[in-house]
Amino acid sequence: MTIREKIDLLMPRLATEAQFPTQGTTLFIDLEREEVRGGWIPRPVVESFLGGRGVNMFLLYNLLDPTLTPLSPDIPLIFGTGLLTSMVPSASRGNATSWSPESLVIMDSNAGDYFPSFMKLGGIDHLILFGKAKRWTTLRIQNRLVDFLDASAYSGLDNIDLREKISLDFNGVEGKDFGLAAITTAGENLVLTSGIMAGPKAIYARGGPGAKMGALGLKAVILQGRSANLATHKPHKTRNRDIAKKLLETSVVKNALKVRGTPFLYRPSRMLGAMGTKNNQLTSWTDKLDAENIDPFRPGMEGCFACPVNCRPLNDMTHDPNCVHDKYSKGDGPEYVTLGKFGPNIGISEVTQVLRLNNICNDLGLDTASTGSAIAWAMELYQRGLISKEQAGIDLSWGNYESIERLLFMIARREGIGDAIADSSQAVAKGHYPTAALDYLMAVKGLTQSDPHDARILKAFALGLAVATRGMDHLRNRVTLEINAKINDDPAFKKELYGGDVSAEPNSYVGKEVAVRACENIYAVGDAVGMCRFTTKLFNSPSLPGLEEFADQIENITGITLSKAELDRVGLNIMAVERMINSKLGISRKDDTLPKRWFDEAIDVGPFKGEKIDRAEFDGMLSRFYAISNLTEEGLPNEVWRQQLEGVLSA
């Protein structure tokens, strides 16, 4: 069945009018035929999955043909904005969802800045893009009307030049006059580590969204127009003030995120002996990359739409005579992920080198997590002789800055060894590397690890990375508070926080499944309403807004009443549908695992020297996780629940 036939079946099941005052429309955009259809997500679907990531999964479940391949034009790329996006402080997020060409499981990538907010403000909740455009195309959407514009003038442009040219051509300022999601040349070249840029740095990053959008022949989506006052069910601004106050008074926001942003994480990870170094062969690295060493190059902080936190550090090296002065001398970032992936993970120890690589990745539209991981993997293969000097063509020794900078451009253009690295975790399947290379791939379900934290010590982190539905990614369920001694040392508080007993010892396997379950639920709900992960309860603080605040504002804004327990169930539902989709793609219990290295090799530094993952203990923890998640031994929703879900998914 073609996607058009699938949409034909879906359309009569959609509502013909908005289900609540702030609901946006769902547009199905056929890029090949330049046709648009629309409808509204039915209320029972909203009550089960809310919006954003949740409803994206409802749409993917209905539209996915697993007999195709991810880059087929009949596999849709779905943008979704959160139920509360743009209407609640720090809720500025949305998701891009598809079948990942990088991991071959679900692709579900989250970004902020302005694009998701402009979707909501423009009256659009979901965009379903399919069919291959006959030429490079830009979509301009204004008042829900779609123009298919020739994008040949933009083809070949990367992020900096593209955003500048679009601002000139459309006579406006991004974030004020329009929201923009666009791919770079890396996306045009179907680089599997390329993302969709939602701002100077903001990126739908994980799983190859850039390649997916490139395969549709779509260069950019421009959203123009915003209605300043979305009518809500009940006044919600008073509660917004409470939420903003809560955000700004939380210690992690006040003392860390607003001050230096996420690079603060580098130091504790390093001191724990958990800093992924040289493709996780080592776990500690220099103090030269500690966050305070970035201070001289940080002119200020930036933020996403209507977020009071402003956690994104900017960088500027133009005052440093030792730095190259060109368009990469200043930019946006880095986040901790980039600091780790382009620092210790590839053997770089100079702050200015990390900053420059960060700025280049932002321009080339490369996901720093996947790209940094793919480079580190190639470097280890080079170290071990599994990539020869002849095949590499350049020196892939650890820390060779000149090679790495050059390599980023080679990846974006798929030149030389860059072509192999552009295939990320699929490099063996595509014949670039020998099968033995897989022993050194730091990936789960085909997705390389999102962050640099080596999880052999903290077993809750390890379980989270193993069971995350989109692959090895910490943003789906990380029990970040496991690193906080004061919480670990307060068992009653910890029990209340997670809804069950969780061992105080971070390297224990006992009860960690309870904490991962709690985090996975609240983070899925956060994604569905559009809340930033950094400001969601349990991610870095027990004091941030959580289910209670989400429930209040869902009711105020949509009129839908959901209790905290019901919202928690929504989080579980979203995870379940993702597992049902992954099952169609061949995923089962065997894939909820960890890289071989973490089972076989122990950490050799720090307070947890000797720590690794015990296979039997891990397996037991996984079984307990399945049991409390109402999953079968193969990791799928149990029969009763599955039937209930299918009732909503197929009704």
Binding site: N255, A256, P268, M271, H453, T480, A485, N488, G606
Partner: protein, 91 residues
């Protein structure tokens, strides 16, 4: 603390920014303390905002190694370097 020798006891304590109050980032403690719990009590008496600011975001590190649990009972010895630092793991 009577059974603790007071002879030339010294601890170096590095403070995270919220505890500095425009003072130095490194202080020396010459009052003998046996554990991080005792050190915490001492710092609460010496630094005005210490008790209020010392929330779950801050961990101790001892001689460059992060302490993740059992914080109050971690033993200290003269010559140790203690650091109070921002510790979070989600970014």
């Amino acid at each position: 603390m009577s059974n603790v020798s007071t002879a030339s006891f010294v601890l170096t304590v590095r403070l995270a920014e919220p505890f500095r109050n425009d003072g130095p980032d490194v202080i020396e403690i010459d009052t003998p303390v046996r554990t991080l719990g005792e050190l915490t009590t001492l710092l609460e008496s010496r630094i005005a905002n210490f008790a209020a600011a010392n929330n779950e975001l801050f961990n101790f590190a001892l001689n460059g190694e992060l302490i993740l649990h059992g914080e109050k009972n971690v033993a200290l010895h003269s010559g140790d370097e203690v650091e109070l630092l921002v510790a979070f793991a989600g970014g």
